[in-house]
């Protein structure tokens, strides 16, 4: 699998996968880029037929997982650095506030609250028009399993979005 093909095929689902692990989207894109670059540079070390998307996908996921672990370990250090930045600097670098649709914002929150396996497939499939087969290749599961998880996730999301006010929100409102 050449570089162009691997990027076209796995760039978005890989980014979505890393986001589903709880990494902010900007960092997730960086980790995905690092993973793809590393995969290309060390392609000779991949065991199995590299042209097989299942083999390449599993290998790429392993690289991304290691990158994520390193990122996670260094997160506390970065948080300390971030805390040491003066408020003025933060104001300077802050972007203009974007007024977004409240419903979409709530949907994003609900996606983040999905169970891990459902969240993974939602992020990977819907971040861009990624075919189910590529998502399955990256997760080393069958396309049917991906479809099943997507179905479960969409149903969960519908149910939660239709709830006018959740009990948790009521409790928060009372307490706060």
């Amino acid at each position: 699998m050449d570089l162009q093909e691997s990027i076209d095929r796995f760039a978005y689902p890989l980014t979505g996968l890393v986001v589903s692990w709880g990494v902010p989207s900007v960092d997730a894109a960086e980790l995905a880029q690092d993973s793809l670059a590393d995969a290309h540079l060390s392609i000779a070390t991949c065991r199995g037929d590299i042209r097989d998307p299942l083999v390449f996908g599993r290998w790429l996921r392993g690289i991304a997982r290691n990158k994520y672990r390193n990122w996670f370990r260094s997160r506390s250090r970065r948080e300390r650095l971030a805390a040491s930045v003066s408020p003025t600097t933060l104001d300077e670098v802050a972007v203009e506030p974007v007024y977004v649709d409240e419903r979409l914002s709530r949907l994003r929150t609900e996606i983040e609250r999905l169970p891990g396996k459902q969240r993974e497939v939602v992020m990977m499939h819907y971040l861009d028009e990624t075919p189910v087969a590529d998502v399955a290749a990256l997760l080393s599961i069958t396309p049917k399993a991906v479809e099943g998880r997507l179905y479960q996730a969409r149903r969960t999301l519908r149910r939660r979005m239709d709830e006018s006010i959740s009990w948790t929100e009521v409790a928060k409102a009372v307490l706060l």
Partner: protein
């Protein structure tokens, strides 16, 4: 999926819309992946180059490389190739690792072990010594006999030490220190055989011996030649003199009670001390002449006064007023303060900052050197008062001396001049047309200092076309190739290579990079002085091919080149570090200490240069550790000896 099911599921478009903010830009994503691959490939190529360099080191046997990792380099011999790269512990087989683990205590056996052995021999010799009085005349007789028997060895070592600048500083001093340890043990044993061990006698000899060694080491530190130390060599002098003072504070010299100073001081010792003082004074006078400074002369005068005072009744008069221990303590504090001043009063970035901001900057004249210092301050983030400096730059430009081109080049290199200010001083269109004229593309750019700022201005103006840029790069390359054949270029080869590199970095850092790297590596190895002449420093870089002394400016330029092109395989980093070590005798003039301090700082920041580990200090500073151990041995020999009353 039936309609009822569809109503149970959230709309896919809605999910896509919700996730849209998290979607990275496809083109940007691709470009970033490619950039990462390119950067990693460059790194791999660089590593491959380094591994090729390492492969060159493999011409040395693996055992030699293992030895280089654990044995003080100077012990490998005067002619040992100090560029032997120590092997990594992880890179050797299990059997060899075992040998290395067993060989590791070598340093301890050589230094600590030798000291402990000496202590045990002294202890054994002192056992059974009577506590009553002892015959001082007999003691002097035994001492003279010992001198007659072993004095020739001591004389050879002493003369050899004085002639040491031929062989460098490290090895002769180590031999002297080891021989002194053996001599001390032998002397105690000689007295013990006659049951004459006494603290004053032993302590007096030890203090005199250490004073002698201190003198020798101080003379040597001024004419260091080939050496491997990275700490101030005067620390060894301080330890030896300090030991002498401490031991003498614990003994009551025989001279004070009976016969007077001169009689107690053995003739041989006195003669050696006089020779050492004379050599030291001559060396200080020579240093004063070379450095055009009066400070070595003052040091020399103080030394002579102290020596004369020690040999005359002046000392006895002072002693009658001040307690002995108080006098020794004052001496000791002064000595420690002087010998360690490189560290507590060493040259700091603040000193360099002051130099860069000198009020008489206009008379400083040496704008090129000033630019190196200012550039370093800017690069390291220390900074300086740019506004004040810029005001002086303007004043000098108005005055017209030195040539404005040199000032402008210095101002551009140091970063004090903004793009707008630079463009206001130049006629960019004319300069671009003249410098990048295709018909001159094969011609040298005469006087780089004069054209440097004009090339930078052309580039900064944005008016340089691609064709003009290519012509300029071609002309820079003509100058570069000329450096290979024409070694007598103004400012030296290293400086010109540095200026050209900076201009390449402005126009196109990748232009002819491989050729430039190969050339610079060759020049660096060729210009480093690893076999200095008599009374010359080694380890630094020469200005021209045919010169035989290290030049601090050329060394600074060479290290700046290493920042860009890496460290070549054949370069002797140990000697280079040693050349750049602090030495308070030398480091009192800005002309000397500024380039040296900057060079040291830059060298430590180069990724290819290994950081100095504790083991490295153990290896390179063996004279210092040996001198400390010798002081301990002699101190032990003194205080373990009984105090006895003399019987005439």
């Amino acid at each position: 999926m039936n309609p009822s099911n569809r109503n149970m599921l959230i709309d896919e478009d809605e999910i896509r819309a919700a996730l849209k903010p998290w979607r990275p830009d496809a083109q940007d994503f691709r470009a970033r992946v490619r950039n990462r691959i390119e950067a990693a490939s460059n790194k791999v190529q660089s590593a491959s180059r380094r591994s090729t360099d390492n492969a060159n080191h493999s011409r040395h046997s693996e055992w030699l490389r293992i030895a280089a990792s654990f044995v003080p380099i100077n012990l490998l011999g005067r002619n040992a190739d100090t560029t032997i790269m120590p092997i990594s512990f992880a890179a050797i087989s299990l059997g060899k690792k075992l040998v290395v683990v067993l060989a590791f205590p070598f340093l301890c056996i050589f230094m600590v072990g030798l000291t402990l052995y000496g202590m045990l021999r002294i202890r054994a010799a002192q056992n059974g010594q009577p506590s009553g009085g002892f015959d001082i005349a007999q003691a002097k007789q035994v001492t003279l006999q010992w001198w007659k028997r072993y004095g020739w060895i001591a004389s050879i070592v002493f003369v050899g030490t004085l002639a040491a600048p031929i062989a460098g500083w490290t090895t002769p001093l180590m031999i002297s220190l080891v021989c002194s340890g053996f001599a001390a043990v032998s002397f105690v044993r000689a007295l013990a055989r006659e049951r004459l061990v006494e603290r004053s006698l032993i302590g007096g000899m030890c203090a005199a011996g250490l004073g002698l060694l201190g003198q020798a080491s101080q003379s040597l530190s001024m004419v260091s030649g080939t050496s491997h130390q990275v700490l101030d060599p005067n620390l060894v002098t301080g330890v030896l003199f300090g030991g002498s003072l401490i031991i003498s504070a614990f003994v009551r010299p025989l001279a004070w009670t009976k016969a007077g100073d001169m009689q107690a001081l053995l003739k041989h010792t006195r003669d050696c001390l006089v020779i050492a003082i004379v050599v030291n004074v001559v060396a200080l006078a020579g240093l004063a002449y070379v450095l055009a400074s009066y400070i070595p002369l003052i040091l020399s005068a103080i030394e002579v006064v102290l020596f004369v005072a020690a040999l005359t009744s002046l000392r006895a008069r002072i002693m009658s007023y001040l307690p002995r221990v108080a006098i020794r303590s004052i001496y000791l504090i002064l000595l420690v303060a002087v010998c360690t001043q490189s560290y507590w009063r060493g040259v700091t970035a603040l000193d360099i900052k002051k130099q860069v901001q000198l009020p008489e900057l206009g008379q400083y004249r040496i704008w090129d050197q000033w630019a190196d210092s200012a550039k370093w301050l800017s690069e390291t983030g220390i900074g300086f008062d740019q506004q004040m400096v810029m005001q002086r730059v303007t004043e000098d430009l108005d005055r017209g001396t030195p040539p404005p081109a040199w000032i402008l080049t210095a101002a551009v290199r140091s970063g004090v001049m903004s793009k707008t200010e630079l463009l206001s001083y130049t006629n960019v269109q004319a300069d671009c047309a003249q410098l990048a004229d295709p018909q001159f593309s094969g011609q040298l750019l005469a006087d780089l200092q004069s054209v440097y700022f004009r090339i930078v201005a052309c580039n900064a103006s944005g008016e340089l076309t691609l064709a003009e840029r290519d012509t300029l790069i071609h002309r820079l390359m003509v100058n570069w190739n000329d450096l290979d054949s024409n070694e007598y270029v103004s400012l030296g080869r290293m400086k010109n290579a540095l200026l050209l590199t900076e201009l390449f970095n402005v126009l196109d850092p990748k232009a002819h990079q491989e050729q430039r790297t190969a050339d610079v590596h060759r020049w660096l190895v060729k210009h480093q002085i690893t076999r200095p002449g008599l009374f010359q420093d080694g380890g630094g870089f020469r200005l021209y091919d045919q010169t035989y002394h290290c030049d601090r400016r050329a060394t600074l330029s060479a290290i700046s080149l290493m920042e860009t092109y890496g460290v070549p395989a054949g370069l002797d980093l140990v000697q280079l570090r040693s050349y750049l070590r602090p030495n308070f005798v030398y480091d009192f003039q800005p002309y000397d200490y500024v380039p040296k301090t900057i060079s040291r700082s830059k060298l430590n920041q180069i990724p290819d240069v290994p950081k100095l580990s504790a083991l490295a200090y153990l290896q390179t500073e063996s004279p210092l550790w040996l001198s400390i151990l010798l002081v301990l041995l002699l101190f032990y020999a003194t205080i373990s000896s009984p105090v006895r009353e003399e019987v005439q």
